[in-house]
Symmetry: C2
């Protein structure tokens, strides 16, 4: 005995504008005007056509559209504070991978990278791009001026997608990235799983000015409420700088020899690990960090870092760019306000090459 589940034989007779025109007894041009809201059609025929189209489940054929609209050269603009931060390498690969899937439609990608978080600089790039793009992907600085500019872009009909971190004070846009709060909670749960009921934790914070960092710490603290034996010995801030990270972590470990777990909220991983390595092996705390950049992977391989949380950088870029291109090429708006990628736990055994997405 065997079941035989065969897909609906859809696709054998697809609904086209031509067919709708025939059925409604009008010309194809009229159908086009109705279905694309171009006006210049009587209300009566318009209603009829719409009804039939809905009944038959009309969907326009992207291939036909691509062919006909080849003279359009829609542009997706990207602004990333990515220079000097290897985390973004994978993200950019994802963006470019997506772009290459769409360049048969005559679309283009304009990628602008910057270093650091200077508001004026990002604003400048934003104003440059605003006039020439139909969609914008940005890793925004959380600043009112940026938010205002983005709101302006959206009024112009530009699709705005925030990538990897979000911004306050900006209207209905789409966010692609991880759930920072959940990342913090997962980190705490992982320490509990590794260490048992009690832990004395040293937190190495990135920056209070970065929303995602604050959210991670919040998520961590909230999850800590379930662990009666957990205690934060100290929270230091490294401003994502390796040297500061090293120095302050070293001081913290000296001041609190009872620390048996270090939670690295953001960058400065290498510096903090160097400080940990100055302790004798048997005295070293459990170290948890985010993202598998090369220096972090090296610290996993030599056993200093026990686990990392991985936020699918490649797919962040891919997803954001796919949404942007679907919009500029096919006019499809994102279906959701947020596309949240999962926080994966990676230990030495299930680490993957950094340029490989979820598969080889």
């Amino acid at each position: 005995m065997h079941m035989f589940a065969c897909q609906e034989e859809r696709g054998l007779s697809v609904v086209t504008m031509k067919k709708i025109a025939e059925i409604c007894g009008v010309s194809r041009g009229t159908v086009d005007r109705v279905l694309n809201n171009r006006g210049r059609v009587s209300d009566e025929t318009a209603k009829h056509i719409r009804r039939i189209a809905r009944q038959l489940g009309y969907e326009r054929n992207p291939a036909g559209r691509a062919l006909a609209a080849r003279k359009n050269h829609p542009v997706v603009g990207v602004i990333l504070s990515s220079e000097g931060n290897p985390f973004w390498d994978d993200v950019i690969q994802g963006i470019e991978g997506s772009a290459s899937n769409y360049d048969i439609y005559g679309s283009r990608l304009k990628l602008c990278t910057m270093k650091g978080y200077n508001v004026e600089e990002q604003l400048h790039l934003l104003r440059d791009l605003r006039s020439e793009v139909q969609a914008l992907i940005i890793n925004p600085i959380d600043d009112p001026a940026i938010a205002a500019e983005l709101n302006g872009c959206m009024k112009d009909g530009i699709l705005v997608i925030t990538l990897n971190n979000d911004i306050c004070g900006c209207g209905a846009h789409t966010y692609v990235g991880s759930d920072y709060t959940n990342g913090g909670a997962t980190a705490c749960a992982l320490i509990a799983a590794f260490l048992g009921k009690t832990a004395e934790i040293g937190v190495v914070m990135g920056s209070w000015h970065i929303l995602g960092h604050r959210q991670r710490l919040e998520g961590f603290k909230k999850r800590m409420e379930k662990e009666a034996g957990f205690h934060i010995a100290e929270v230091i801030v490294n401003e994502d700088d390796e040297i500061t990270s090293y120095a302050r972590t070293r001081d913290m470990l000296q001041k609190h020899p009872e620390i048996n777990a270090v939670f690295l909220v953001a960058a400065g991983v290498y510096g903090a690990c160097r400080a940990v390595m100055e302790l004798p092996e048997e005295k070293r705390p459990l170290v948890l960090a985010f993202d598998s950049v090369p220096s972090t992977v090296a610290m996993m391989k030599n056993g200093v870092i026990r686990a990392i949380l991985y936020q699918h950088p490649y797919h962040q870029g891919k997803r954001a760019a796919d949404l942007a291109f679907e919009f500029v090429v096919h006019g499809k708006k994102p279906g959701k306000e947020q596309y949240i990628l999962s926080n994966e736990i990676r230990i030495l055994e299930n680490l993957r090459g950094r340029e490989e997405g979820i598969d080889t």
Copy 2:
């Protein structure tokens, strides 16, 4: 200061067959015959056209192709032993998600599901499909007769993709799925991270007849060599049956009260967990399992299972189907022999809804 990286202005003047025809002073038909190896062209003109095409970097336009090839109805066949096993729900969603991206090309999906692992039945489905598909995705039974049939399919020019588990004795085909050995190794490392230096482990094996299960156990044992204090108390087999799983796990736990970790290699998770739950809470071992099917998720939520390994079922299906459709629609062969998806570690905190891929 800011960097300004702008993508090459490619795509502004695309090379088409028409252009090549004009340049070569022949008709588009001739160019088509050359570039698609249809024959019936003189060697001389063929060479010339090929040279020019290469010089200009011709790439055929999928949109045009999609439109023109709409009368072809290439079929991708799928055979899965999926009935009654919720693991496959996500895989099938991935396959159907991929299929819907390609049905503008007039392609179709023929999905055949079966229950259990009867060789004759799978063979029967295989012979049925062989005559009507251009690509085949199969979750094969590891049997010589199946391997022979698949080899026959490949001789017919059918692209064969094995999904989730592989088969011996079958020639050059493509595998999409997880790395079972690595899954076992990761499981062992995870037990080490959770329990520390010593562990007394009860292994609940699926079936010795299934390659993937054997590989997981091998991977586990090999990784165990690094853990001097680890010991396997007993290995029981449940043949993926819940009742058997319950009974034998219960017996094992009674016989070996020293067991403090249970490694569930395959299915029968719920049954084994029920046996574990008969122990008082403080005596319960650490339980590790694979895949986030609903009953397993329930067992995580009530604390019986501490962690699972997740093998991206949605993306397994999506990837396999994408490869198949790229072949039947665009003639692109898979670039690799294996597409391996990572083994993710999921605890309660970073579990995601089962129907959601890596993102919401």
